[in-house]
Assembly symmetry: C2
Homo-oligomer: 173 residues x 2
């Protein structure tokens, strides 16, 4: 199952770091790429490019002017993460079972109401306000049943060797 | 098991929204409170207070000038979330098994190296760069074995009724 993330409504002045974290979470939890809409932000693209070049990929990251066509043109099923949706615990077996490529839509400042009707599932990661970063990570973590250590990153220049104390980083393999 | 989050090194000018998301994730995933260090930020405190008043608690949120004494004065065990630590999948059974009250430390811009030696566990949520927001949420999600729907929030003025489509919010119960 290939997973792609669509981040809506990026505003460079306000969202730079949050969007960076959303996209890095997408990559770390196994998505193969992300698209963002809103205002184009070369600084955001450079930040993500730098991480992919250091820590490996493949991970694509691109801008689109039209979120509607990203959704309608998607080759598989579509999930929208929203605190108003059905609990992830309830719907994740069905989403996993489908096995088709998945587009995961995460909001920015204002999510157009019509999105709720365009997607296959509206999914809530808790029904409480928190963050698109945490919602995305927990959703992807559930999607692959918590098996992030099995994700491989190609072409990394460095990788962490997990330690009980301190930091150990090796040259990529 | 009571869980409290310590957010290090808040800088109001840069971290306002990220710290808000960290603390909201703490609350949504079952921590009973959070403390932050760095520079005091009344705007951050108001944002969190507003959410607790609308969506319920109890959830305490306070500032401390001294992270060392928050850690050394903690009544239970201490976890530090870092991409350099041992995989959450590996250590979470032991942490759950301890059953003692847990302080979860999440970094800001610069994490003092001595923290690695002061805590009971350094835990990595993936060994990849992503976000303190996602690391915290996935850690807490694992800690309670994904059972967020069982968390109760008292005194909420409103609550979401999960829907397949659209938004439904009721007055709190």
């Amino acid at each position: 199952m290939d997973v792609h993330v669509l981040r809506l409504g990026h505003r460079p002045s306000r969202d730079k770091r949050l969007s960076t974290h959303v996209v890095l979470a997408a990559r770390a939890f196994g998505a193969s790429g992300a698209t963002y809409t809103g205002d184009r932000d070369p600084g955001l693209e450079e930040s993500i490019g730098r991480v992919v070049s250091e820590w490996g990929g493949p991970f694509t990251f691109e801008f689109s002017e039209r979120w509607r066509s990203v959704i309608s043109g998607w080759r598989g099923r579509v999930v929208h993460l929203t605190m108003y949706g059905l609990p992830v615990q309830e719907v994740i077996p069905e989403i996993r079972g489908e096995g088709s490529d998945l587009l995961v839509v995460v909001g920015g400042a204002k999510v157009p109401g019509e999105i709720f009707g365009m997607v296959d599932w509206n999914v809530g990661v808790t029904s409480q306000p928190h963050s698109e970063v945490s919602a995305l990570a927990v959703f992807l973590h559930e999607l692959r049943e918590g098996k992030e250590p099995g994700i491989s990153f190609q072409g990394a220049r460095k990788r962490v060797v997990p330690q009980a104390r301190g930091k150990r980083v090796e040259a990529g393999v």
